[in-house]
């Protein structure tokens, strides 16, 4: 296998320190992909990820085996570059398919679990469906007032006065 030739502006080898580095464009490679690629190298190398500048991350690989020549060091960075591309592509696929995967998984799990028990229902969070409304605020004006039977006795009328429109308001009504 020939030695990959990287532009000096992208990668470099430090034979004395026994390390190589690669500058990775943030715009092209998500940080998660860089982490994933780096993870595959931690058995063989000491791996450092740092911020190079506003647009780039810097990945430094130092082979644990010790001093190596420049050509060997360049092979490490070539391997890392390919792994990074693979991880970035998989990251993108996962992102694109996430909703579908989650929906299918949820349906599969729900089917397998069967209906919830009564105990489980007590802990279930219904807040996504509605909110608690102990005072009945979320009731339209028409529902609140139109359905109420007219009070027949004076005492009843007194009790209901708080909830009903005043006679003055009724006069204002169209």
């Amino acid at each position: 296998m020939s030695t990959p030739a990287f532009p000096e502006s992208l990668a470099g080898a430090d034979v004395v320190a026994g390390s190589v580095h690669l500058l990775v464009q943030r715009e092209l490679y998500p940080l998660d992909a860089i982490f994933a690629a780096a993870f595959t190298f931690i058995n063989d190398c000491w791996v450092v990820i740092d911020v190079a500048d506003e647009a780039r991350h810097k990945v430094v690989l130092t082979p644990k085996a010790g001093a190596q020549d420049a050509e060997t060091l360049q092979r490490w960075i070539g391997g890392f570059a390919n792994e990074l591309l693979s991880c970035a592509y998989r990251h993108r696929l996962a992102k694109d398919n996430r909703v579908t995967v989650e929906a299918v998984t949820l349906q599969a799990l729900a089917g397998a679990m069967g209906p919830p028990t009564l105990d489980e229902l007590e802990d279930f969070d219904f807040s996504n469906e509605a909110f608690e409304d102990p005072l009945g605020i979320a009731q339209s004006w028409e529902e609140k007032y139109a359905k109420k039977p007219k009070p027949e006795a004076k005492d009843d009328a007194k009790d209901d006065a708080k909830d009903e429109p005043t006679s003055e308001k009724d006069e204002d009504a169209p």
Partner: protein, 603 residues
């Protein structure tokens, strides 16, 4: 940039002035609202505001907030606030990016507020403020001013003083829905209501100078000292809205209001003023308006770059048709195509009304791409490229309602139209008076040789002392008068009187024309040339630089030649030439008159 989505018209209040009185039984489906939330994101909005009716009575409220947040947008509510008196609901909404609440409260006591909303709601609506204040929200309280509460506005100011992050807005009741049905019972006279709003704001500021106030629906001329407090959907950064059943978003507009020409035509406040509600004007007319004439106005405004529009060589459709023509404001949005590139711009100016902007953009097509790096272009021929409606729009069924696609015109319109003026000047003979000659020396190459060979005597009038100093120092061939037109005597008369781009600097057009005619000898020639207002299409950096620049307003008006013609006809002037502004011309118009050959009394 907010998108307003109406979720239904049901409500737990029953305000006397309810805008949606006739449709309170209609609610949108949850699916329709969810679809519109996604559409808002696709259109580039950064906040979705739900309104109604009353959006908080919908059981999907928290879910919708979650959908908005999940799409990376902020969430807002136009509400009576009653449900927000529940701390748990507020907590759930805050967790879903609630950032804006526009809460209705029409009185500072239960007596007043409940009278207007016709139910026992004050404690809940007012109580919601305790839950919302101090949460970092853009928090506004809207009080609709009617005959029932107009005398109790100070009470509301007092009630809101404990909440310094609340902006209290007073809104003139709109004659729509309940406001129309109960017009006589609800509608205060606008001048009276405005005076009481001014009183309430002044009272509040005297008690607590940091208290925040706004107003809406009141003509600015009736809000002296508080003009800048005007607020409406646009100042609140609403771009578009959608009612239940509408297939898409539509731009917010002011078509329910008007600026009556008889009062507002020359008002310096016109650009940012809401005018009167049409229904109010029909009932009471415009006699209460107090236009501010004599103020200076802008003569241009910026369309600032918003976004690139994706195009595809494989898709031959119009780029506006592809994204949908409905959401774009016909005047304030501008799509410009240049080769394969299409960009969207927007004008947020308050210096011009919507009607004026539409006229500039569509009726006259006076739009120019600024290709300079100057804060204000001073050499139009080199600094500006004219934009015209794209030939692709011709024959389109959506032509008249669409914001339209524009592109650069090939013609050098400024050079072409000014060649006419240069021809006129080159043929001058005798005594010439140039009113507002300016320091620019635009026509010196023509005028100076005429003076040098004795073909003309050239008298320049310049009111700006700084300009006059420059003229005196650099152009000694000009016989200079440091004066305004109004101050200029009429003893001396001239064969030619020129007003080249000074017409709109004259405070009163009728007086000015009379004076210009009086300065002409009998049978002399009066030449008037000026520019109409125009839109400048700019990058964000250009707009920012221009808005921070030293340019100041200099024009009393932005008259088209149509403003001169009837005045001249009434004075019996003989028209020699007329060059109006058209869609294919520059923004320069020119007209020439011969004055009567029989001497008339001086003006």
């Amino acid at each position: 940039m907010k998108a307003l989505i109406k979720v239904g018209y049901g409500c737990n209040d029953h305000c006397t002035f309810c805008h949606t009185l006739e449709v309170r039984h209609i609610d949108g489906t949850a699916a329709e609202v969810s679809r519109k939330i996604a559409r808002a994101r696709a259109l580039g909005h950064t906040m979705v505001v739900l309104s109604g009716g009353e959006p908080t009575i919908r059981p999907e409220l928290v879910r919708w907030a979650g959908e908005v947040a999940a799409l990376g947008m902020d969430f807002g509510l136009v509400t009576n606030g009653r449900l927000l008196s529940y701390p748990d609901v507020v907590a759930q909404l805050l967790a879903r990016r609630l950032r804006y609440v526009y809460l209705s409260l029409h009185g500072g006591s239960a007596t007043i507020h409940n009278r207007l909303v016709r139910t026992d709601a004050f404690a809940q609506s007012y109580g919601a403020l305790a839950e919302l204040s101090g949460r970092g929200l853009d928090l506004k309280v809207n009080c609709v001013v009617t005959l029932q509460n107009v005398d109790h506005l100070r009470e509301l100011v007092d009630a809101l003083r404990p909440y310094p992050d609340v902006t209290l807005k007073f809104s003139m009741v709109e004659p729509k829905g309940g406001g129309k049905a109960l017009f006589a019972s609800l509608m205060p006279r606008v001048a009276d209501a405005a005076a009481k709003v001014v009183d309430a704001i002044d009272y509040g500021l005297a008690q607590a100078p940091a208290q925040r106030f706004a107003h809406g629906g009141f003509p600015l001329c009736l809000m002296p000292g508080h003009e800048a407090r005007y607020a409406d959907l646009r100042t609140d950064q609403y771009w578009s809205m959608t009612e239940i059943g509408e297939p898409d978003f539509f731009p917010v507009d002011d078509r329910n209001k008007l600026q009556p020409d008889e009062k507002c035509r020359d008002c310096a406040l016109r650009g940012g003023c809401p005018g009167l509600y049409r229904g109010y004007h029909e009932a009471f007319g415009a006699a209460e308006l107090r236009p501010r004439t004599g103020g200076l106005r802008a003569n241009s405004f910026n369309y600032t770059f918003e976004a690139k529009v994706r195009t595809s060589p494989d898709d031959a459709r119009c780029p506006i048709e592809r994204v949908g023509p409905a959401p774009w404001d016909r005047g304030r949005h501008l799509f410009v195509a240049n080769g394969p590139h299409v960009a969207r711009f927007r004008a947020d100016t308050r210096d011009f009304s919507d009607e004026e902007i539409v006229a500039i953009k569509h009726d006259r097509e006076q739009l120019y791409l600024d290709v300079s790096d100057k804060p204000a272009p001073d050499d139009f021929a080199t600094d500006l490229v004219k934009l015209m409606r794209s030939p692709r729009c011709a024959g389109c069924t959506a032509h008249d309602g669409c914001t339209g696609l524009y592109g650069p015109a090939a013609d050098e319109v400024f050079e072409r139209d000014d060649a006419l003026v240069r021809d006129w000047l080159g043929a001058l003979r005798g005594d010439v008076l140039d009113v507002g000659c300016g320091a620019g020396g635009r026509y010196d190459a023509i005028l100076a040789p005429l003076v040098a060979r004795g073909a003309i005597r050239y008298v320049g009038v310049e009111p700006d002392l700084g300009h006059a100093e420059v003229i005196a120092r650099t152009r000694p061939w000009i016989e200079l008068r440091r004066s305004t037109l109004e101050e200029l005597g009429t003893v001396e008369r001239f064969d030619h009187v020129l007003a080249l781009r000074s017409w709109n600097h004259f405070a009163d057009r009728q007086d000015a024309l009379g004076k210009l005619v009086a300065l002409c000898r009998p049978g002399g020639v009066l030449t008037i040339v000026d520019n109409v207002a125009f839109g400048l299409v700019r990058t964000r950096a250009q707009s920012a630089r221009a808005e921070a620049g030293p340019a100041r307003f200099e024009h009393y008006r932005n008259d088209d030649v149509d403003a001169v013609l009837p005045l001249a006809a009434a004075m019996g002037l003989e028209r020699l030439a007329l060059h109006p502004v058209t869609r294919t011309s520059s923004n320069q118009w020119a007209v020439r008159y011969r004055t009567p050959r029989v001497a008339s009394a001086s003006a």
